[in-house]
C-alpha cells in the first residue's frame, strides 16, 4: 500500500501511467463483474425502467413517469400487506432469535451431553426445502384429518385452528421459526466459539457465575452476530412468500392474493399481467427493506462502539 502511494507521488508522465493501469485487473474481476451486472444490476435497472411505464392489455405501452409510485403509495392492499409483514417481523423475529440464542448458549455451555446431536437436530429443519417443510406443516395443521384435528378430538373442542384469520399469522410464524432457529443458532454458536477462553478463566477467578458470564462476556461478544442475524431475519420477513403462498390452497379466503408484499407483486404480474405496477411494488418494498436494515445496522454497530 505504501509503495503504491509513493509511486503515485512520482511525476510519471501520463501515458505510461495509463499503460501501467492497464486492464489486467479487469481480467480478474471481469468474470465476477459480468455476472454481477447481468444477474444483479441489470434486473434492478430493468425493474426501474419497467416501473416508469404502463403496459395495458389493450392500448399498448406508455411512459407514465412516477405515476405507478404514487399509486403504490396510496394503495390500500400494498399497505395492508406491508403492515402484516411488519407485525410478523416485530413478533416472530425476536422469538426466533431468543430461541436461537438460548440453543446456541446451551450447546456452547459444555454442560450438555451429545451437543453434536442437538446441534444437528436443531439445524436439520433448515436443510429441509421450504416448500417441503410448508407442505408438511400444512398436513399437520389440517383441521379435519391432520394432527390439529386429532388434538382437537382429544380435547373435545376446537382449540387448534391454524387456518383462521386470527391464527394464520402465528401458524406461519411457527413454521418460519421452526425453519430458521437452527440457522441463526449456528451463527450465534460460531460467534461464541471465537470468544477467547482466557476471558472465561478470568471471569471464574473474579468469581463470576454462569449468568454473569452470559451478560458480561457472551452477549457483548455476540452483538455483531445478533445484528447480522436480525438483518437477515428482517429481510426474510419482508420477503415472506413461500410459506403463505404454499398454504394458500389450504386457506384460500384467509390468505388473500395480497397477503404479503411479495405475494402481491407476484400476483400482480403473473395473474394480472401488471408487470409495471408489480415492478414498482418490488422497488418500493426493496427501498423500505434497505432503509430499515440500514437503520438496524447503524444502531447495532453504534452500540458495539460504545
Amino acid at each position: 500500500m505504501t509503495t503504491l502511494s509513493r509511486q503515485q507521488g512520482l511525476p510519471i508522465p501520463k501515458p505510461s501511467r495509463k499503460a501501467r493501469r492497464d486492464w489486467r485487473g479487469w481480467a480478474f474481476v471481469g468474470p465476477f463483474m459480468a455476472v454481477f451486472l447481468l444477474v444483479f444490476i441489470a434486473p434492478v435497472i430493468y425493474a426501474v425502467y419497467l416501473s416508469l411505464f404502463r403496459e395495458q392489455l389493450v392500448g399498448g405501452n406508455a411512459f407514465v413517469g412516477f405515476e405507478n409510485y404514487l399509486l403504490v403509495l396510496s394503495d390500500g392492499k400494498f399497505w395492508e400487506a406491508f403492515l402484516r409483514v411488519l407485525l410478523f417481523l416485530v413478533i416472530q423475529v425476536p422469538i426466533m432469535l431468543v430461541l436461537a440464542l438460548a440453543a446456541a448458549m446451551a450447546i456452547d455451555s459444555a454442560r450438555l451431553h451429545a451437543t453434536g446431536f442437538f446441534r444437528i437436530v436443531i439445524f436439520l429443519p433448515y436443510a429441509v426445502p421450504a416448500v417441503v417443510a410448508v407442505l408438511m406443516w400444512g398436513f399437520i395443521y389440517g383441521g379435519n384429518f391432520g394432527l390439529a384435528a386429532n388434538i382437537n378430538d382429544f380435547l373435545g373442542s376446537e382449540v387448534i385452528t391454524p387456518f383462521t384469520r386470527e391464527w394464520i399469522l402465528p401458524a406461519i410464524g411457527n413454521i418460519v421459526t421452526w425453519e430458521f432457529v437452527g440457522y441463526n443458532m449456528l451463527i450465534f454458536y460460531a460467534a461464541l466459539r471465537t470468544i477467547p477462553t482466557e476471558l472465561y478463566e478470568a471471569a471464574e477467578l473474579d468469581g463470576a457465575g454462569p449468568f454473569r458470564v452470559i451478560t458480561g462476556i457472551k452477549i457483548p461478544a455476540l452483538r455483531g452476530a445478533i445484528v447480522i442475524a436480525a438483518i437477515f431475519s428482517i429481510i426474510g420477513s419482508f420477503q415472506l412468500f413461500n410459506e403463505p403462498n404454499i398454504l394458500k390452497p389450504l386457506a384460500p379466503n384467509i390468505i388473500t392474493s395480497y397477503f404479503t408484499p411479495n405475494m402481491y407483486a407476484y400476483n400482480l404480474s403473473f395473474a394480472g399481467q401488471q408487470f409495471n405496477y408489480s415492478a414498482t411494488v418490488a422497488i418500493v418494498m426493496g427501498v423500505i427493506t434497505a432503509v430499515i436494515a440500514y437503520v438496524v445496522q447503524l444502531r447495532g454497530s453504534r452500540k458495539e462502539d460504545r
Binding site: 451486472l37 430493468y46 395495458q56 392489455l57 389440517g142 379435519n144 390452497p249 384460500p252 392474493s257
Partner: protein, 449 residues
C-alpha cells in the same frame, strides 16, 4: 489516492451504466412483439404440412397427451411432436403469457381451458384457424364447447373435453341417513340440513369459494354476468341469474351447511372417500378423478342430474378446454394439422376416452358404446347417460371475461370473504365486480361505460 480512487470509481460506474444500458436495451428488445407469423393458409396446406413433416412443440397436462402424441407420430412418422407438461392451468398460462410477451419460447400448440381462451385470443396470441377451414367442423362439437372456442367467424381452437355439470352423490351416506336424491335446490338445502343434523361431521358438499364453480352455478341459474364485444365489456354480477344463485347458496352458508375443506386438497380427497362430503356439483370429467384419487369409495358414488330451481332441466359447463395454435409458431399449418388430428380424429379421441376423458364431440357423446358404459366404481350405473343428457341442457350465450384468469385469481379476496365471514354472497359478488371493473378499465378495456 482518494481522488484517484474516486475518478476510477466514476469511470467504473460509467462503464457499468453503459453495460447495463446495453443489457436492458437488449431485454427491452426481447419483449417487443415478435410480429405475427401465421399469415394465410388453406385446408390443403394441412395435408401438405403433414406430408412434409417437421417438429412442433405441444404443451399439455392432460393424462392422455402422451398416448395421443405417440399415436400421432405413428400415423405421421415425419412429424416430431415434443410434448411438454408446462404445469396445470394457471401455471401453464403464466408460462405461456411470459413466452408470448418475450417473443420466443412459446409452443406451437397449447392446451387452454375455455375460460382462458378469450384472454389469449384478445391479445391476438392465437392463430385464427378458420383459414384452414376449421369453421366446417362446427357440427362435430357440442354447441356450448364450440361457442367457447370461437368468436364470430373466428376459430381459436378445437374443443377437447367438456364438463356439463351433474350431481355426484355418495349413495351409501344418503341411504344411511334416509336422504332422497334432491332434484331441486330447495330439496338440496333440505337434504343438507337433514344430513348435518343427523351427523355434524358430515356435510352435503364442501365449498370455500371457487371461481370456476361460482361462475358455472351462475350460468346454470341463467345469469350472463360477463359480456364482451371486442374491448367493450359489461360486468353485471347482480343480474337475475347471479342473484338467484347467490340467494340460494347463501342458505347453505348461513346454515353452516358447507364443509370448509378446500377443493383439491389432500383433506378433500379424504373427505370424498369417507363420506364427510356427500355430494359434488361438478363437471362430467369428475368420474376419472374419483376413480383415480378416491379409490376407497368405489361403489359408493352415483350420478344424478344437477338440481334445478324450478324443475326444468338445466345445466352448465364446468371446466373443460381445448387446444389452440399459438401465433409464435413457425409452422402454423403443421400445428393446425396436429390439432385437427388431436381433437377431431376418431383414433385420437378413442385414446382420450380410454384415459377417462369426457368428450366434446357429438358423435362420441351420442355413441351407443359410450352411453352403455357402466363403471363398477359407480355401482354399474350407466353414468354417461346422465352426463351426456346434461350436455344438452346447457344454456347458450355464456361468455367469460377477456381477463378471466385475473378475475379468478382475486375471487378469494372478494367473494371468498363472504364465505369466510359467513356473509352475504351478493356483497362479495359486488366487491368482485368493483375490482374487475377497475382492473378492466385500467387495462384499456371499456368496462360498464
Amino acid at each position: 489516492m482518494t481522488i484517484k480512487r474516486s475518478s476510477s470509481g466514476i469511470r467504473r460506474s460509467a462503464a457499468a451504466i453503459v453495460a447495463v444500458a446495453a443489457i436492458s436495451a437488449a431485454l427491452v428488445g426481447c419483449s417487443a412483439d415478435a410480429g405475427s407469423s401465421g399469415g394465410s393458409g388453406s385446408a390443403s396446406d394441412l395435408d401438405a404440412a403433414l406430408e412434409k413433416g417437421g417438429t412442433i412443440t405441444y404443451w399439455s397436462w392432460t393424462p392422455s397427451a402422451e398416448a395421443q402424441v405417440a399415436a400421432f407420430e405413428k400415423a405421421y412418422p415425419k412429424v416430431d411432436v415434443k410434448l411438454v407438461n408446462a404445469g396445470t392451468n394457471t401455471d401453464e398460462y403464466t408460462k405461456l403469457q411470459n413466452a408470448i410477451k418475450a417473443g420466443s419460447g412459446a409452443p406451437d400448440v397449447a392446451q387452454i381451458e375455455y375460460y382462458a381462451i378469450p384472454q389469449f385470443s384478445l391479445s391476438e396470441s392465437l392463430v385464427d384457424l378458420s383459414q384452414y377451414g376449421f369453421g366446417d367442423l362446427k357440427d362435430d362439437y357440442s354447441a356450448s364447447t364450440w361457442g367457447s372456442v370461437t368468436s364470430g367467424d373466428k376459430v381459436f381452437g378445437l374443443p377437447q373435453d367438456s364438463g356439463p355439470m351433474s350431481m355426484f352423490y355418495n349413495k351409501t351416506v344418503f341411504d344411511q341417513y334416509g336422504i332422497e336424491v334432491p332434484t331441486t335446490w330447495d330439496e338440496y338445502v333440505a337434504a343438507a340440513e337433514k344430513l348435518h343434523a343427523a351427523d355434524p361431521t358430515k356435510y352435503i358438499t364442501s365449498d370455500t369459494g371457487d371461481s370456476g364453480f361460482a361462475t358455472s352455478m351462475i350460468w346454470q341459474a341463467g345469469g350472463q354476468p360477463f359480456q364482451a364485444d371486442g374491448t367493450n365489456v359489461t360486468i353485471d354480477l347482480a343480474d337475475a341469474g347471479s342473484k338467484k344463485w347467490a340467494d340460494n347458496w347463501n342458505r347453505l352458508i348461513d346454515g353452516g351447511l358447507l364443509s370448509d375443506i378446500p377443493g383439491w386438497s389432500d383433506e378433500w380427497y379424504k373427505g370424498l372417500g369417507d363420506g364427510t362430503i356427500a355430494t359434488l356439483i361438478t363437471g362430467a370429467w369428475m368420474p376419472g378423478v374419483l376413480e383415480g384419487s378416491v379409490p376407497d369409495a368405489s361403489g359408493d358414488w352415483r350420478v344424478a342430474p344437477i338440481p334445478t330451481y324450478d324443475g326444468t332441466p338445466v345445466s352448465a359447463e364446468n371446466g373443460g378446454g381445448g387446444q389452440a395454435v399459438i401465433k409464435q409458431s413457425k409452422n402454423p399449418a403443421l400445428a393446425a394439422a396436429f390439432l385437427k388430428w388431436l381433437n377431431n380424429d376418431p383414433e385420437s379421441i378413442k385414446v382420450f376416452l380410454e384415459k377417462g376423458g369426457f368428450p366434446a364431440t357429438t358423435a362420441d357423446l351420442e355413441s351407443d358404446e359410450f352411453l352403455a358404459q357402466a363403471p363398477e366404481y359407480f355401482g354399474g350405473q350407466k353414468i354417461n347417460e346422465v352426463l351426456t343428457a346434461a350436455a344438452k341442457d346447457v344454456p347458450s350465450g355464456w361468455q367469460y371475461l377477456p381477463f378471466q384468469v385475473y378475475a379468478n385469481s382475486i375471487f378469494g379476496d372478494t367473494v371468498g370473504q363472504s364465505y369466510a365471514n359467513k356473509g352475504n354472497l351478493n356483497d362479495g359478488l359486488a366487491e368482485w365486480q368493483k375490482q374487475l371493473v377497475d382492473y378492466g378499465n385500467g387495462q384499456g378495456f371499456t368496462v360498464n361505460k
